[in-house]
């Protein structure tokens, strides 16, 4: 029996985009979150923040219009929207750590039922690892949304009772948007708020390493 259709990475991003309020200041992390800017609902303006000191990033630069002094945190040339501003990296992280951003959308390897986040290092991997801005962003942002596949490639749950990967931050995740569902981290555990088309709560629970309430 082959698996049912899951949301594509772009569809996950589009679902997460619907979580962003109009006028919000938002940081997008590596991976699926970085696709969100292309999926904003019509009529919504979001001020995207980049750790290198930009508020108000617009769409990616088209070929020929790139300015390599105007890049996002993934090194991609971007554009500005009206009302943008520049500042230095310490002020950029004063914004993240100090709770000034409305929403951060981050990728993850694992999220625990209490909202612990692991997204910077694979256990046993060679090399030094790479923290970047994720720890400051996760610790400080008012609302942290994780976008990821619901399970690993070999079908193991990425939503677990306790993270086994090196932690990024304790109890920081508020919402998880996956290819199967939208979950909120609440004081009473994980709450299933939305399902991908064609999926049942029981099927999602089966693929989740922690109990869900509905």
């Amino acid at each position: 029996m082959s698996e049912k259709q899951r949301l594509s990475r772009d569809q996950i991003a589009a679902r997460a985009a619907r979580e962003l309020p109009d006028g919000a200041f938002v940081n997008l992390g590596w991976g699926i979150p970085n696709l969100i800017a292309d999926h904003l609902p019509a009529g919504i303006t979001v001020y995207f923040h980049s750790e290198n000191g930009i508020l108000g990033m617009g769409r990616r630069a088209k070929p020929g219009e790139e300015d390599f002094d105007l890049v996002d945190a993934m090194k991609v040339p971007v554009t500005l929207i009206p009302g943008a501003s520049f500042f230095h990296q310490a002020d950029a992280h004063l914004m993240t750590r100090g709770g000034h951003l409305d929403v951060a959308v981050l990728g993850a390897f694992q999220v625990s039922e209490r909202g612990d986040l692991a997204n910077w290092k694979v256990p046993g991997a060679k090399g030094a690892g790479a923290i970047g801005g994720a720890m400051d962003i996760a610790a400080g942002t008012k609302r942290v949304i994780v976008c990821m596949e619901h399970t690993t490639r070999d079908g193991q749950p990425k939503i677990v009772r306790q993270c086994t990967y090196p932690l990024t931050c304790l109890a920081c995740v508020d919402t998880i948007v996956t290819d199967l569902a939208v979950l909120d981290v609440t004081e009473r555990g994980l709450l299933l708020r939305d399902l991908a088309p064609g999926w049942s709560a029981a099927e999602v629970q089966q693929r989740t390493g922690a109990p869900l309430s509905f």
Partner: protein
């Protein structure tokens, strides 16, 4: 998207409740949000904690709020020789003050802005300022632990705002205003002029819009 531009000064201060902690920008007669202060006098909000470099001039800056008895506690670096309204209330025991070295005042507000929980400094060691504070030795230097200063509101004075709340300041009227804008939960800016979104060069914005929640146009009032 809700506009940050308030139609009147009174609307700009209409959500401030008794007991609020409010930062007030300004230094040396420049950069004071005097119009917002007048609106707060009209509103009559009581039991305020004020955070500001000084405690008013003969008639202006914070003095109207001391005259009206609205301020209960102030955190300041330099009360000022003509802060008579404050001095009277303070002598009568109606107002308490925490005196803080000016740079430490800035730094404690910045710690609040930056989500830090405290910092160690040599400033104030062995002085009255150190009373009651944790002291330790780091790298052979005596230092004390200073805690962040948070506030519910910042009243600031800027020169220009765009429609989103990106701010610029005039000359040394900048002073405490950008730091307070970053430190408070809600920042209310009185400005000389609102310009269209996009009219301020992103490289010369001093206070990015993320730190500004309400903007109101009012011609600056200055007190000697």
């Amino acid at each position: 998207m809700k506009s940050k531009i308030c139609v009147t000064l009174d609307v700009a201060v209409d959500s401030i409740s008794d007991g609020a902690r409010i930062m007030f920008g300004g230094f040396g007669g420049s950069g004071f949000p005097n119009n917002l202060i007048q609106a707060l006098v009209r509103r009559g909000t009581k039991e305020l904690t004020a955070i500001s470099n000084n405690c008013g001039t003969r008639d202006g800056e914070l003095s109207p709020l001391f005259k009206s008895g609205q301020i209960r506690h102030i955190i300041a670096a330099f009360p000022g020789p003509h802060s008579f309204a404050f001095q009277e209330r303070h002598a009568a025991g109606e107002v308490t003050i925490e005196l803080v070295p000016q740079g430490i005042l800035c730094e404690r507000m910045r710690a609040a802005a930056a989500g830090l929980l405290g910092f160690y400094t040599t400033v104030g060691v062995a002085t009255e300022v150190a009373a009651g504070k944790e002291e330790r030795v780091i790298n052979g230097q005596r230092c004390i632990l200073e805690m962040p200063i948070h506030a519910d509101f910042a009243f600031i004075k800027a020169d220009k705002s765009d429609g989103l709340g990106n701010l610029t300041y005039r000359l040394a009227a900048r002073n405490f205003n950008p730091i307070m804008a970053m430190a408070a939960a809600t920042t209310i800016a009185e400005v000389e002029e609102v310009v269209p979104v996009g009219a301020i060069d992103p490289e010369v914005v001093v206070t990015p819009a993320i730190f500004v929640h309400r903007v109101v146009v009012a011609k600056g009032i200055r007190y000697v």
